[in-house]
């Protein structure tokens, strides 16, 4: 298994260090930091706006850039959390809890250095795990049949919706709605038109970019625009004030490693993202601390662990996405789309036949993470200045990118109208507290699930027990059942509290 690890590393380095790819990586992480720093626009919207552009560049370069936006936004997001008490991106929400109190105590610099270090540690270990684990999973994935794939997707979708921050049943409902939206268009195996209502533009189905831009882009702007909750910015971050004391380092070291472990594990599960990883890492630190009352008042442990966790999770989330072709989060689903645009089918065969893409991407993570530390520490002043741009100036340009992005996928004005329609849907979902990320995940996995389900049923001549006869498929389904039970109990408990 490991015999050609070094060969692969060398191949990856040669791809990642080409001038072209270095520049795309720099562009990606810079843009990622920017959208991470800015509240009201996340990695997901940024990636979907840029997706049409990736038609015109090489697949490796496109993936390197997209991935840079993705993990770069975790670095940038915590800057806003610490300085403004406002999460710049969802996975950085936890950084507000102890990061902002630290900033208020005049230790903003230390907080920023701690998050950057924790992110680097988490990210690096995450990449190492990815490098070692992926070949193993690829070997094992080649033996999976349609039954296993179907059960694995059921498990992933349930995990993504049940272990989310809001109500589990609403998450599951959104997965189902997403699958239905994914089925719109011509059915691949029978050629029948489904849910097209005679509209010719719908025969190809919805584009994921259009869906993501509407659900996240437009809806996010409506919510952020008249929010008005912007704190005062702590501008006095000098390089000198950044140096953590020995005591800080001693306190932060172990939480960083624990956070990395938690994040790497949760991130690698199909369906669970780094936002959840950061929350769990925080909860663990508070539970095992000798003096839990310090948490929420600027405890450095409460900053180091979740930051390490979300960056480790960001990296390991690529494992199921690339080796199995099953995305763990909505952003990963977009990443898969980049590959499919270029006619590369993700999965075990891709890792073997397109080793340059896989290993080039993995090695670019190292470059990206180092670039991010440079971008975020010495240049933190730049990002602070970016934060002082009022949102009312910013949102028209975001909308311009949304519109042009949607139009240029197929040069179709109908797609732009669909963005508006999905924007209304997305805003309605927010009003009713329905999460949008599970919907996007269901949209991507839905058609694949139907296909695997069909194949399994054909193979077993219509016998449902085929999903329970195979041990691996059975264990995925048992975990799914446990998740459902857990979700039902969680809902039950919530009702008693209310």
């Amino acid at each position: 298994m490991f015999y050609d690890l070094f060969g692969n590393i060398a191949l990856g380095l040669s791809v990642a260090f080409s001038w072209n790819n270095l520049l795309w990586c720099l562009f990606g992480v810079t843009l990622g930091t920017l959208v991470g720093v800015l509240p009201g626009i996340g990695a997901l919207s940024a990636i979907s706006m840029l997706l049409p552009i990736t038609y015109y560049i090489e697949p490796v370069a496109a993936l390197i850039m997209m991935a840079g936006i993705y993990y770069g936004s975790s670095y940038g997001g915590s800057t806003t959390s610490i300085l403004l008490n406002l999460p710049g991106s969802a996975s950085s929400a936890v950084a507000c809890l102890d990061g902002y109190p630290m900033a208020k105590q005049g230790r903003a610099g230390v907080a920023l250095v701690t998050t950057a270090l924790a992110s680097l540690v988490g990210g690096s270990i995450g990449i190492l795990i990815m490098m070692l684990l992926s070949p193993v999973i690829v070997d094992f994935a080649l033996d999976l049949g349609p039954q296993e794939y179907f059960s694995l997707m059921v498990m992933g979708l349930l995990a993504a919706s049940a272990i989310s921050v809001g109500s589990p049943i609403k998450g599951i409902a959104m997965v189902v709605v997403g699958i239905l939206l994914g089925l719109v268009g011509i059915d691949v195996s029978t050629g029948a038109q489904r849910f097209t209502f005679g509209i010719p533009e719908l025969t190809e189905g919805f584009s994921i970019v259009v869906l993501a831009l509407g659900l996240f882009g437009i809806a996010e702007i409506v919510v952020s625009l008249n929010d008005g909750q912007r704190g005062t910015i702590n501008k006095g971050v000098t390089f000198r004030s950044m140096l953590p004391t020995k005591d800080d380092m001693r306190r932060a070291a172990k939480p960083m490693l624990r956070g990395t472990g938690v994040g790497a594990f949760i991130g690698a599960l199909p369906g669970a993202g780094s936002t959840i990883a950061s929350f769990i890492a925080y909860a663990i630190e508070r539970k095992i601390a000798k003096d839990p009352e310090r948490f929420g008042n600027g405890a450095i442990e409460g900053l180091a662990a979740p930051e390490a966790a979300n960056n480790a999770g960001d990296q390991t989330a690529f494992i199921p996405t690339l080796t199995l072709g099953i995305p763990g989060s909505a952003t990963m689903a977009l990443m898969l789309n980049v590959l499919m645009i270029h006619g590369v089918a993700p999965g075990p065969m891709m890792v073997m036949n397109h080793a340059d893409i896989f290993w080039g991407l993995v090695m670019s993570f190292w470059i990206g993470n180092v670039l991010l530390v440079i971008l975020n520490l010495p240049m933190v002043g730049v990002w602070v200045r970016v934060l002082s741009i009022p949102y009312s100036v910013l949102f028209p340009s975001i909308l311009m990118f949304v519109c042009i992005g949607a139009y240029t996928i197929n040069y179709s004005a109908f797609d732009v109208m669909l963005v508006a329609a999905f924007g209304v849907l997305g805003y309605g979902m927010r009003l009713l507290n329905f999460p949008a990320a599970p919907l996007l995940l269901g949209f991507v996995l839905g058609p694949m699930m139907e296909e695997y389900f069909r194949r399994a049923m054909v193979l077993s001549r219509g016998d449902f027990t085929t999903f329970f006869d195979r041990p691996l498929s059975l264990s995925f389904l048992l975990i799914s059942a446990a998740l459902l039970l857990w979700a039902a109990r969680g809902g039950y408990r919530k009702r008693i509290v209310a």
Binding site: I169, N226, M400, V419, A420, V424, G462
Partner: protein
Amino acid sequence: MWTKDYRDIIGGGLLILLGVATLIYCLVGLRLGTFARMGPGFFPAALGVILVGLGLGILVPALSRGGEPIKPDFRTLFFLTAGVLAFAALIRPFGLIPATVVLTVIVCQASAMSLRAVLITAVALSLTATLLFPVALGLQVAPVNWPW
């Protein structure tokens, strides 16, 4: 505080409607097939049934508990949607610059911007869009077009 959780009553109700509509659509218009040879209607019909179940699971408990009122901001939503639709209508016949200008002018009504600021933003954005997309990236979008 509302006496009933109308947020979930509406949400659950809409899901039930969607589920029922999906089921009817599949039963009327699509072939269900058999387990061994599934027709195009089998999978969505099953999803429709699941949706009805989930909708009930959200709606029923909401009947017997209070809820926070919903505070919608339809004004902002209206201007953003109108701006995007206007862009969709103008981009092909009139080109990128007019579409971007109209988009900016409409969406800026959602925030309290002065007319001068709106116009400056509109000009700046349409120039950026032109320099970035057709010129730098080479996308096939005409900056200005005239349909007649």
